[in-house]
Each structure stands twice: as C-alpha cells, then as structure tokens.
Symmetry: C2
Subunit: 485 residues, 2 copies
Amino acid sequence: MPTDSRLLLAARRGTIATTLWVGVLASAGAAPPPSEAVAAQLRDAAIAGHSPAYAWVSELTTRFGPRPAGSVSEHQAADWAVARLKALGFENVHIERFPMTAWVRGAENAAITAPGAQPLTVAALGESPPTPPAGLDGDVVLFATLAALKTAAPGSLAGKVAMVNERMVRTQDGAGYVATVGGRADGPEEAAKRGAIAFLLRSVGTDSHRIAHAGTTHYVDGRVPVPAFALSAPDADQIERLVKLGQTVRVHLFSSASYVPDAYSQNVIAEVRGRELPQEIVLLGAHLDSWDQGTGAIDDGTGTAIVTAAAKLIRDLPQRPRRTVRVVLFGSEEVNQPAPPQSVFGGHAYAANHRDELARHVLAGESDFGTDRVYSFALPKAVSGAEFAKAALRILNPIGIFAAEGPPTEAGADIGPSVEAGVPAFKLSQDGTHYFDIHHTSDDTLDKVDRVQLDQNVAAWAALVWLAAESNVDFRTHAAPEAKP
Amino acid sequence: MPTDSRLLLAARRGTIATTLWVGVLASAGAAPPPSEAVAAQLRDAAIAGHSPAYAWVSELTTRFGPRPAGSVSEHQAADWAVARLKALGFENVHIERFPMTAWVRGAENAAITAPGAQPLTVAALGESPPTPPAGLDGDVVLFATLAALKTAAPGSLAGKVAMVNERMVRTQDGAGYVATVGGRADGPEEAAKRGAIAFLLRSVGTDSHRIAHAGTTHYVDGRVPVPAFALSAPDADQIERLVKLGQTVRVHLFSSASYVPDAYSQNVIAEVRGRELPQEIVLLGAHLDSWDQGTGAIDDGTGTAIVTAAAKLIRDLPQRPRRTVRVVLFGSEEVNQPAPPQSVFGGHAYAANHRDELARHVLAGESDFGTDRVYSFALPKAVSGAEFAKAALRILNPIGIFAAEGPPTEAGADIGPSVEAGVPAFKLSQDGTHYFDIHHTSDDTLDKVDRVQLDQNVAAWAALVWLAAESNVDFRTHAAPEAKP
C-alpha cells in the first residue's frame, strides 16, 4: 500500500480510532450507544474520508485493469479481494466459483469505404460473433429506432448492414437507458431476421466522444445471429449526415471475437458476523467483473468499494451489530449466456448456493450505478411509515438524501434472483445524470471517480446498513418490534 | 445542399439581402455608407447567423472526414473547396500545388504485458517510424518531464521504453501547450540518444478521456529516431500508479506507419478583388488539412469556415472594399518534413510562390485555434493608438472583444513565413480553455462546434477585415492617411 493517498488514509484511520468511538461512548456513558447515534457517527466518519473506499478502487483498477467475466484478470482480482477483505478484518471470507461461457473481444476495426474512406470508432457488442477473417462489407440501411427496424419487410435487408441510430435521453435515474437499450439487446436478431449481414448501433450513452459503448446482446437459440458493433455518437452522426446528403454509405467491418465455453467466474463473500442474530443476514452487493476496455472504475469498482468500505466501518465499531452484514462481490454481471438463465450468472449462482439461507436474508441492497451522490432511499413496503424509515430519514437527510415514494422498483441485477426469491430490498439511488457518459466504455477509469461523492455513498451505506443490522425489524412483514437497543 | 440547416441558411440569406444592405444604404442616403457602419452591419449579420460558416464546416467534415496532408481526402477537399468558393462568388479561385513527404498512420496497438495484461490507448506520433512487424517490447522508464529525461545518462535507457509524463496546464491562451509540447517534438530524439528503443508521451492535452492526442515529432538527420506514441491521460496515470506500487511495467508496442515521399499538397486561393487598390491584399488564412483520426472540425475546419464566411459576407456587400481580400486555405500545416523547411510547408510554399506580392500584402491574419469566441484583438504596432485601432475597438467591443496590449506575438503558423518576410499581422485571439481537450484527437468532430461562438468569430473577422480592406492605412508604417471613405 505505498501510494500517498493510502498512507494518508492510514493516518486518518488512526485518528478516527481515537476520536469517533470515544465520542460515541462518552455521550452514552457506560451503556451501549443508541443505534441512531452510531449511525450518525458512521455517516460523519465516512463523509470525513475515514474509509478505505478510494484506496480500494484505486488498487483494484490499477493492479488488474479490465476484469471481464471469466478472464484471468477477474480471477486475480477475486483472489486479491479475498486477501484484502481478510486484511480488513472480515470473517468467513471465501470464493464461490461457477462455470460460464466467456466472450473475448478480438481485434476489431471498421471504416466507411464509400463514398470516401473514413475510419469509424466501434466496439463489438458483447457475445457478438466474429466476422469472416477478411471482414465483411455492406451498404448501411439506417433506422431511426429499433421500432422502425421492426417495420422493415422480411428479406428487405438482404446483404445489408442494418443500423439503429436511436438517441439515449439523459436522465437522473437511468430511465433514458432503459428506454433505449432494447436496440442493443434485440437489434442483431431483428436485423438478421430481415436478411442483414451485420448490425450497427448508435452507442447507448449520453456523451459525444469518439468512444463506443459496449454491452450485451441477446443470444437467440444459443447464438447471436450476426456480428454487431456499437458506433460512437459522432460516428453515428457522421453516417446519418452522409445519408442526408444523399450518399450510399458502404462500410467494412472486422471482428475476431471468440467464446470460451469452459470458463468460470466467482462470487467473493465476506462477513461481519452478528453478535446476537448471526444467522440473520443483511446483504450488500456489487460486482467485481467489468467491461473489457475500461478498468471498471465506476462500473462497478466503486460499487465494490462502497459496500466494502461501509461494512468495514461497521466492522471497526467497538460492538458488532446484532445481525450479520454480508458483502458479496459478484462475478459475471456484465455478460449474457447462451443457456438459461441468460444473464446475471453470479446473482443466480448466489441465490442457488444460498437457497436455504434466503429466508434469513432480512434485507438486501446493491451499489451498481457509478460513484455520484445518493439522492434518495427506498425501503421495503412493510416498513413504510414505520419508525425505522423515520430514523433512516433523520440520518440520511443531512447528507442530501430524501425518502423516495414507495418501495424500490428495481434494486439491482445481482441481487435480483435473491429478491425474486423473496428477499426484501432497499435502494440508495445515485445520481446517474453523467453515468452513461462513461458506462461500458474504455473511458471508465479511476480519474472519473469523485472522492467527495464516493464518500457520501459510503456514508449512506454504512449508516443505513448499520440501522438495519442493529435492528430486529422484519422487513418482510414488519411483524417484529422496532429496534430498541 | 439538402440538409435542413443549409436550407434554413439559404432562407436566412434571402432575408439578409433585403434587410441588411437596405438598412445601411437607407442610413447613408445616396452616398457610400461610412466604413464603420458597414463593419457594424457585417458584424451583426454574422451574429444573427447569416453566413455559410456552419454549413461549410459541416459539409467539409462530413464529405471528407479526416484530411491528412498529402492524402486523397485532402486533395478531394481542396477540389470541393474550389467548387464551393466559385459558387459563393469568389474570384481568382485556384489551387497551388507543392510536393511533400506524407506520413501515413498504419495499424497500431499497445498494451501493458507485465505485471498483468492491460490494453493501452495510444496514437503513433506524426512522422514516427513503424515498429518491427512483430512489434517491440520493453520495460518503461518513467520521467516526469522532458527536462528529467535530458538528465538521464547516455546508455542508461538501453533496451528500454522512455516515457515522459508531463502534464499540460489548462490556460485560455494556449501557453500551457507551448510549455509542454517540447516533450513531443524532442522526446524521441532525447530517448534515442540514451539508447531507448521507443518513446511514450503523456498526451499533450487537457482532457481525461481514453483518447490519445497526435502531433508532430522532429526529424533528426532526415528521420525520427525511434517509434513514438502518445498515451491518453488515463493510460499515463495508470502506468504512473503501477510504478508507484513498485511494479516494473513492461509494454508491447506496434505500429505499421509509413511514408509517401512523392506526395503533394496544395493551397487553395480565392479573392474578393478590391475596387480601387486591387493589388493591395488583406490575407486571411486557415488550413484545410487535419489530423488523421478526427474529422478536423475545430482544427481547422472551423478556421476555414470562419475566414471563408467572413470574406463571403464582404463579397456580398453592394460595393467591394478598396483593397483585395484574399482567402488562403493552406495545405499540409500538420506535418513535419524530413528536409528544411521542416514545418508549415503550405505556408512556406505560399510565401515562396507570392514572394513578389508580399510587399503589397497590407495585413494578414489566421484562424487556427478552434471555434470558441474571440476575446481580444491585436494589431500591428504601427497603428497602435491610431484611429483605425479605435474604430476596431468600437466595432468589436460590443461582441465581447477587447484590445490586447501590444501587437501580436505570434499570428499563426501558415502565415508565419509571410509575416517573417515583412507582412504585418493582426490577431483575433480565441478562447482556448477547452481547445486542447479535443486538439489532434479522433474526437475533433462536428458535434464539438458551438454555432453561437462560431458566428461570433465570423462577426469579428468580417468586421475587422472589412475595416482594413476598405481603409488605405499602411500597417507597416502608418504613413498613409486614415481611411475616410
């Protein structure tokens, strides 16, 4: 840990040991401190930068770079995470492996070849097959949206390259992504159905840089039907303008992507064991794998940093929480699979491995939406209006977080299979206004991490998770009494 | 011209014909309008968007994409410019060719190979030779600055890859670029002197995106000594962090760049002939070539648009100016040459071709610093404090432009050889705060052009060039009387 920032951090952590808990204990005398007071202290310590969050994401992304699912680098990152989690004092630290099919980007390039030669910036979409070794050539047929492509007649794209140029709308909550990403998932299939030899997609993203956004496509009967590429936004604009000038745009596309059917990935698990109800689990999730061109700093290096740092602050309290806090760093979030369940293999593997425990998972949350500040929280319906929700608001509102109306609509991909099996979910919603400028690109690197906002995330997670783990609230039915330590 | 914006533009231009000049003539009665009033009208027409500037840069960058010096695309763009300039009503439109050596980027890639595999985003520096066909491998020796590299002992870099990680400081006037670009020009030579097998440079730029900034390197005895690459800022950061973690960073580098010694480039010339003193020339320069990965929108597509649009507004006046306004769209600004004069071949070719005319070039200016607003103007020392300078300030100050202290220190690369031969220069200084985020990258595309700021540039150029061309001021000596139309 020789970097300046980590030495600084270690020095800071020395300080916290003498100031934070002394303050808490002093205010409460000899009795255990009230849960809410501890939550406030955890929050304030995180805001003050007293957590290993930045050092974690810095070392993870620097040592291992991109961590595509099933790659050596993902495996090495998982081994490193185990060692670091042990060093941080977590218990029951271990890896749970699962088999998967990996997709490996090869060499790739693309160019406009007519009316004049111009280079194109592309990224092969995840799971998409290679082109022939000499590449392929075709005239572009431009569709403004996936819906427009779906209206094209069968056979009408024979020998052509279908292109969907749908623009993603910038929103705070990611709704623009949800509205547009269908073109990426289903575009190759819809293009192939109509005879196209390849598929081009305007990147699903909100930036206007010469960087393409990767992402998964759907397998159809075990294969992605045609080679598929994302274009950077300026490249998509350029093709659109050429078409508007009356030009027929011909492109050359090449990819040597490949598949590794006997790969494996893994979930990394670590715990702060509960002092009274260790069998009851508050689950904190994030994913350790990343797309293959950036270093997965904001997707999802900082997610792993946030949940780990929050749990570490709780672990370092003089007294453990009643319930167990379990951190799961999922593998293989970013890829689709040829066979069911086609996506979030790490999340499915966890839910399957821990099926017998899921009834004792009292609450689960996931951090996988970048590094920008949390602006709202949502809790399970059972605790709507309850004292727990009021206490959470009292703790979180001072750091700019309000209480969302209603329970989470979607709490995270990796915890999804567990949530579907009945685990109650909470959500700390992050500001995603700028997230899709970087998401799934080579530009997802450490310099994009805002330390002040990262610390605010850690604060929110540490405080809320502490409140839940220290309580005996039943988030399924709210049948149990409110926590009164 | 079927795009919406150009149709809109044509419609607008119809309007201007009936409103702009009627207004001027009305205010002046039957006598010719005062020069300053015409300058104000030109300015206001440009601010209102009544110029072909945006349509010019849109069509240029869309049709021809990158226009590297000596390439087919540069030649085609020059032919297009001739046709467009004629259609816009310019006179004496022609091409002046000159021979040159072209440098052609090949395939290229780079990666960290130890301690773990990580891709690197690079761009081979201009003029740098190819690697061996299998690439080359070496351990990185990191230097914080070019000055630090120069202190390394002879032979100390044998078999190594030297890397200069100097950070460019963001400034409004480009001073940060001037302070840092020496690493790019001289780095390969200094590395080679000490035995290095290749040279890596932190991009000379102010962004933090995964996009490398190209640029020229110096020939030494007719060759660039070693393969040389720019790294994007996040890649340079990553190597620096790995080194700080105590790692030896090994890299693999590949480039198949090549040279075309019998290439040619060209200057495109167009005029608005003067009504009284046609032999006296006000020269407006910009360059038509660009770097090879972007489409040269802000470097220097908009420069060509600004000077062309300014001259077009002047050309469309009811009465020509006294002196000739000459637009020169230079070729081959962006490359160095193996033999003297090593740089700005287009500028040297122009000065050589027009040697006999240079004494009659009364004033020259160049637009080659992006598209952002002009914030100051500078005039030759001879007219310091003169009525001409006062009139210019009266016209330009309302659009946010002040009078710089003193004459231009540097007025532009392409007009440089003419200025060295005695032609007086003016400068309209643009805000370069964001210019080096994009400069010399694949990201230099049309979407980066701010139309409002582009129009402000056209306004400044049209007004100031009109004032100079309508006057009979001698900018060398200020011996002639002030212009009194």
